[in-house]
Symmetry: C2
């Protein structure tokens, strides 16, 4: 475990100067502070959990590609759940939107150290985000929502169980009588989209159904999914379509209705996430729920475990099938 | 949420009588108590988390097929880690060895209700244990070590990440130069043995190595593994063997040495679990660690989440490769 004295020894300066740099005091040069921070990170120094009640203990939620300001937005409840646990436990929680520019301006551990954060909860990062590489070797307790890093003991992955979710959706459709199920997905540029795609085929195999790769189709733009991939699935004779997320399911619902399909009489559609709007579509959307308040709470639990040297790798919440009206028995003549 | 009054109404008796039965007071007939308990379970009644400091809150650890009394035994640290978290939080923890007879004598939820347990941590149950079926529909917050139940929101699975562990072992061996790796396993009668078996092949595929099913061999009796399966793997020309657990690895180590093999010069052997004896074998055993104190602590964290209606399905700790001396470069002429 690296102490301030070790950093001071390495740089041949006093421990007091190191302390000033790490605590952001302004009366040392920017250049020296930068050098101290980088050395600290290189040596694996991290802020330690302090038991004194009077020192401020700060955590942060770092967000990209997700909205959290309004209750109907997908990260709102996640942030809320995290704060509901962290703040009563005595932590200050800063919520920060991180740009690609910020990520490229300094390594992740330097950012965390410089801002006095003991740990972070990371929302919405794509696989190509600059700091995703930093997480491979980071020393800072960090929980990733829907992203997984192998073999780094200070990084956890929290999410909903994609395998369980797909298994619930497929076995529900099978029970209704469906035998040909398609999958519409956006681009596989995020960990969770890859996980759901894989889980779809695993669920088909588990249900002894045809798991031909052609049954999953998709691309980055929803319009392309609607105009190209959806008609192709319909041509293949699927009687049900599972979608990678609720927005895709809603778009498919509207598109199929425009094409003259009655949902669910002619075609069943199932979403994923259970976003607030799902209860209000016409017909209301059957979907897999990820409970976002619980995601937030679990994010905090995992981070607390990491701060206490319990090395959680993966924490998955139970998925839950929410049955509404967009899925039913398949049409008789297919 | 079922209340005592609901049970009383259903049976046409007073709430006081229901309360007596649920709290184990002796002045009602055994027959009536049995009827009340069974009705309570049927209606999904469970003990609720009470915030008062003066009422005793009881959890239990139920153990089968594992030993915990002595520090060198595999469940000792798991029990310790659980108690280190639960007792300071105000819980009493009972540790109970459950026989097959007890499991057959009453349903799991009745046992828990009758003994006033709010939740349980379950260690060592095989897939054929009678209560494993009860967990599918149980209403009691329950954390299973190394067992998974799908789609029951009150049951969690806690363990070490088998996929990560196997990936670490296989990529380490690949880096050393091995191209043909075998796997020795005991019978696949437990969830974790199945998970590790599957993870072995996934790791081979991930490393672009031959994942022919013939590379995994095993059976219930270790002697049979040594006399039949181990020689077969050696005949197939493997230069390294990963074993399903450390006892198997140690047996393989001794058997190979008897056959004249020098470990690791002629053959590399890797275990799984990092039991305390691994540092003392000759040569000391390279293995995948599951940190048992952390398993215990995580078991408590997951149970606490379930008691607070956060529905954790799976909690996996990071696996860690512990490099000692039973694995090295493959012999040159193979």
């Amino acid at each position: 475990m690296t102490r301030m004295q070790d950093i001071a020894d390495k740089l041949g300066i006093s421990k007091g100067t190191v302390s000033k740099a790490l605590n952001g005091t302004s009366n040392i040069s920017e250049e020296l502070q930068k050098k101290i921070l980088e050395t600290a990170v290189e040596m694996g120094y991290t802020k330690k959990l302090r038991r004194q009640k009077d020192t401020e203990q700060k955590l942060c939620i770092l967000i990209d590609n997700m909205e959290y300001e309004e209750p109907y937005q997908n990260a709102y409840d996640i942030v809320l759940g995290f704060r509901q646990m962290a703040e009563p436990a005595g932590y200050t929680v800063d919520i920060i939107r991180v740009t690609e520019k910020l990520q490229r301006s300094m390594p992740y551990d330097v950012f965390m150290l410089q801002n006095n954060y003991m740990g972070a909860f990371i929302l919405g990062f794509s696989l190509s985000a600059a700091w995703m590489r930093d997480f491979l070797t980071s020393h800072t307790p960090t929980v990733l929502y829907d992203n997984y890093i192998i073999a780094n003991p200070t990084i956890s992955y929290v999410g909903v169980d994609s395998n369980e979710g797909m298994e619930l959706a497929v076995s529900y459709l099978k029970q209704l009588g469906h035998r040909k199920i398609g999958y519409l997905t956006s681009a596989l540029g995020s960990y969770v989209m890859q996980a759901r795609h894989k889980a779809f085929f695993q669920a088909l195999r588990q249900a002894d159904m045809n798991a031909d790769p052609a049954y999953a189709r998709g691309s980055y733009h929803i319009t392309e999914c609607m105009e190209k991939h959806l008609p192709r699935l319909l041509d293949m004779g699927v009687t049900a379509i599972i979608c990678c997320h609720d927005q895709m399911a809603h778009a498919a619902l509207l598109q199929c209705q425009q094409l003259g399909y009655h949902i669910p009489k002619d075609l069943s559609i199932i979403g994923f996430d259970d976003l607030p709007f799902c209860a209000y579509t016409s017909p209301p959307l059957t979907t897999i729920r990820q409970n976002r308040i619980q995601i937030g709470k679990s994010g905090y639990s995992a981070l607390e475990s990491l701060l206490n040297q319990v090395s959680i790798g993966t924490l998955l919440l139970h998925a839950q099938l929410i049955v509404r009206n967009s899925a039913g028995e398949p049409p008789v003549h297919k």
